[in-house]
């Protein structure tokens, strides 16, 4: 059997496995088939596999297994496909569409590197895969990745620019607010240079495609909410810093406890070692029943330790809760103190007003007394003068 006949047999075997639903066997055979190839044969064999899978019901599942098991490595696959005709390349990308939509985790980690590849065909293919991913269940919100795609709007190849544009539109449909922010920030960054006019136009195009009247309302509402939220966040930050200080103190205490535990464990080990030494000597004499009992005891000990650990966990949880409660109490006390201070101040103010009022009333009384005395003195003087006149008469 020559090499080509052997290959045909292997491909037929793969086809049979896929048709019979024996996907693991198919994956294994494909792994061997590709693995056996030398550098020259690799691309042809890869193409044969892809060709075979393209036409088979279940081929997509096998492909997913191949990617999951790293038999087909996505970056190197795209690089190899770049050397093939566009029909195969793009048909294969189409084959990956459903997997991209449903399991974007398989591809997303490679995306940023592939988008910045030296090969424009790879860049284009990576962007197409991102379009498929954006069309699926996942929301792409990796700022670094989106910025990398944004940079591709100024790629030297027009077809890469077009794909980048489509990718950003596709991502933006699901998260318009996030995308609008990144795009506007980027537009501000590049606004100073005149040669970036085209990129600005492209950004404008993306924004127009992702922002509708409904979405604008949403974005505005979210912005108002976010400003309110920012204020709240400031307050929370203060509280957080206080809590963090307390946490820090607690951690210190925990570390001390751990140190003590370690010391205790070391001591336990030493004791166990001594026991085992003694045990070894005794082992020969100890019957099997005793050994079983010992094992049971050890199991029970382990269980007890587990329970201890659980209890400790619960204790820690309780402590945490208590701390939370204490913090709340402290906050309440602080609030109460503030209220008291305010009351005291108000009382002081009231007492001052009272004093002032009292002083005024005293002054008024004094004036009255003075007035009365004046009247009395005048009357007495009148009486004295009348008496004198009577006497003179």
């Amino acid at each position: 059997m020559n090499d080509t006949e052997k290959e045909v047999v292997e491909i037929l075997q793969i086809k049979d496995f896929v048709k019979d639903g024996r996907f693991d066997d198919a994956v294994h055979t494909i792994g061997l088939y590709i693995g056996d190839a030398n550098e020259n044969e690799y691309l042809d064999r890869l193409e044969n596999v892809i060709e075979t899978l393209l036409t088979l019901h279940g081929g997509r599942t096998v492909l997913r297994f191949l990617i999951e098991n790293l038999i087909i490595d996505i970056p190197s696959l795209l690089e190899h496909l770049s050397k093939r005709d566009p029909v195969l390349r793009f048909t294969f990308l189409l084959l990956l569409k459903t997997i991209c939509e449903k399991e974007c985790d398989l591809f997303l980690p490679y995306s940023e590197n592939l988008v910045t590849s030296d090969d424009p065909n790879v860049r284009e293919a990576a962007l197409q895969l991102l379009i498929y991913m954006a069309g699926g269940d996942a929301i792409i919100d990796d700022e670094s990745l989106i910025k990398t795609i944004l940079i591709k709007l100024s790629d030297e190849k027009d077809f890469v620019v077009e794909k980048a544009l489509q990718t950003l539109k596709a991502i933006g449909i699901k998260s318009p607010k996030f995308m609008t922010k990144i795009l506007t920030d980027y537009a501000k960054e590049i606004s100073e240079m005149a040669e970036n006019e085209r990129i600005k136009d492209l950004i404008d195009e993306i924004l127009k495609s992702i922002v509708s009247i409904d979405k604008i309302e949403e974005i505005v509402e979210e912005e108002i909410e976010s400003s309110e939220a920012e204020e709240k966040i400031e307050l929370l930050d203060k509280e957080e810093s206080e809590i963090l200080n307390k946490e820090f103190e607690l951690k210190k205490k925990k570390l001390e406890i751990k140190k003590k535990k370690l010391e205790l464990e070391e001591k336990e080990k030493e004791i166990l070692e001594k026991e085992s030494e003694i045990g070894d000597e005794k082992e020969i004499k100890i019957p099997k029943k005793l050994k079983k009992k010992e094992e049971e005891i050890i199991d029970k000990e382990i269980e007890l330790k587990k329970k201890d650990l659980e209890i400790k966990k619960k204790k820690l949880e309780l402590e945490e809760r208590e701390k939370d409660l204490e913090e709340k109490e402290i906050l309440e006390r602080e609030k109460a103190l503030i209220l008291k201070e305010e009351l005291i101040e108000q009382e002081k103010a009231l007492s001052q007003v009272e004093l002032e009022l009292k002083q005024k009333s005293i002054e008024q009384k004094e004036q009255k007394i003075k007035h009365d005395e004046m009247k009395r003195v005048e009357e007495e003087l009148k009486k004295v003068t009348e008496k004198k006149e009577d006497n003179t008469d």
Binding site: L54, D85, P86, V87, L88, F90, T91, L93, E162, K163
Partner: protein
């Protein structure tokens, strides 16, 4: 009522003001150019998987109009060539590239890859004998399976059941000829000769210039005497089945594509069936014009001839 295709065609035929006509055609041309060079090629993946014109027929428009490669949407053409190549190598394709036009050099690159530069030179400079040496070498020494035939203006290739017609003067090739009409009697005669050499070598072919090609088939007397004289019985042979049931249906079908079919007994009492095949069929357009004969129609005629020859002629000679 909205504007329809026939309104535009009628307007183009009847409008006397050439300025109006050219304005309309300009509109059409600009739309086509925008579609090809801007809308479709802008996204290469869409251009590859879902071209904006069905089966890239706008490429055909440009190639048949003898435009050069620089006047074509290049990526679209490269995909088109790739599809022809993949189909030739029996690989998966998005659509089967029937009636695909390629430039001579690209056709040679796809079908005769190792020798395509030499072949292009020989064919371009009309040194066809040198080109035939390469073809023969490939057939006899390199185990390649194809047949070819040269006429004055065409070089016809047959790879398996697919026909490719090289237009020697225009330097382009019709690949996987199917629904395209046969453009001349010379080409019709060439294709008939090529098929006759392969499938029914003893059948008489006659070329009546500027009229038609005659294909004369014979059913020997021995065969005729073995056919049951009565309508079908339960134990009738395959031959009876054919001549009582299918034969007249075949002839009836062929009347659509043949100018004339004549049946008569020759001097040895053999049944002689003469098919007169011209460039026009007996089918009509909505306007009442005769439809042109297509490559796929010709294949039906050849299937009939091959059946009569292999099943009822060659065995009895």
């Amino acid at each position: 009522m909205p504007l329809k295709e026939e309104h535009i065609l009628k307007y183009l035929n009847t409008e006397s003001d050439t300025k109006n006509k050219s304005e309309l055609i300009d509109l059409l041309r600009n739309t086509i150019d925008k579609l090809c060079f801007d809308d479709c090629e802008r996204d290469r993946i869409a251009c590859t998987l879902q071209p904006k014109c069905s089966r890239r027929h706008l490429l055909k428009l440009r190639i048949k109009s003898e435009l050069k490669i620089d006047d074509l949407p290049k990526f679209c053409y490269s995909v088109h060539k790739g599809v022809v190549e993949r189909f030739f190598r029996n690989k998966t394709v998005i659509y089967r590239p029937f009636d695909a036009y390629l430039y001579l050099i690209d056709f040679l690159d796809v079908f005769f890859h190792g020798d395509y530069r030499k072949l292009n030179k020989f064919i371009s400079f009309n040194k066809l004998e040198d080109a035939f040496k390469i073809f023969d070498d490939r057939i006899h020494n390199r185990n390649e399976k194809f047949e070819y035939l040269k006429t004055d203006n065409y070089l016809i290739f047959k790879f398996e059941d697919r026909i490719h017609v090289l237009y020697l003067n225009e330097k382009y090739v019709l690949c996987n000829a199917n629904r395209e009409s046969i453009t001349s009697l010379e080409l019709l005669n060439g294709i008939c000769q090529l098929y006759a050499e392969i499938y029914f070598p003893e059948v008489k072919l006659a070329f009546i210039p500027s009229k038609h090609v005659e294909i004369s088939l014979k059913v020997p007397y021995d065969i005729l005497t073995k056919i049951s004289r009565e309508p079908l019985q339960d134990n009738d042979s395959k031959m009876d089945q054919y001549f009582w049931n299918t034969f007249w249906e075949d002839l009836n079908a062929l009347t659509q594509y043949c100018d004339q079919i004549s049946l008569h007994e020759d001097k040895n009492q053999n049944l002689e069936i003469i098919l007169h095949v011209s460039l026009l069929t007996n089918n009509y357009t909505e306007e009442g014009d005769k439809l042109k004969l297509r490559h796929r129609d010709l294949r039906l005629i050849f299937n009939f001839a091959t059946r009569i020859y292999t099943e009822y002629y060659i065995l009895w000679i």
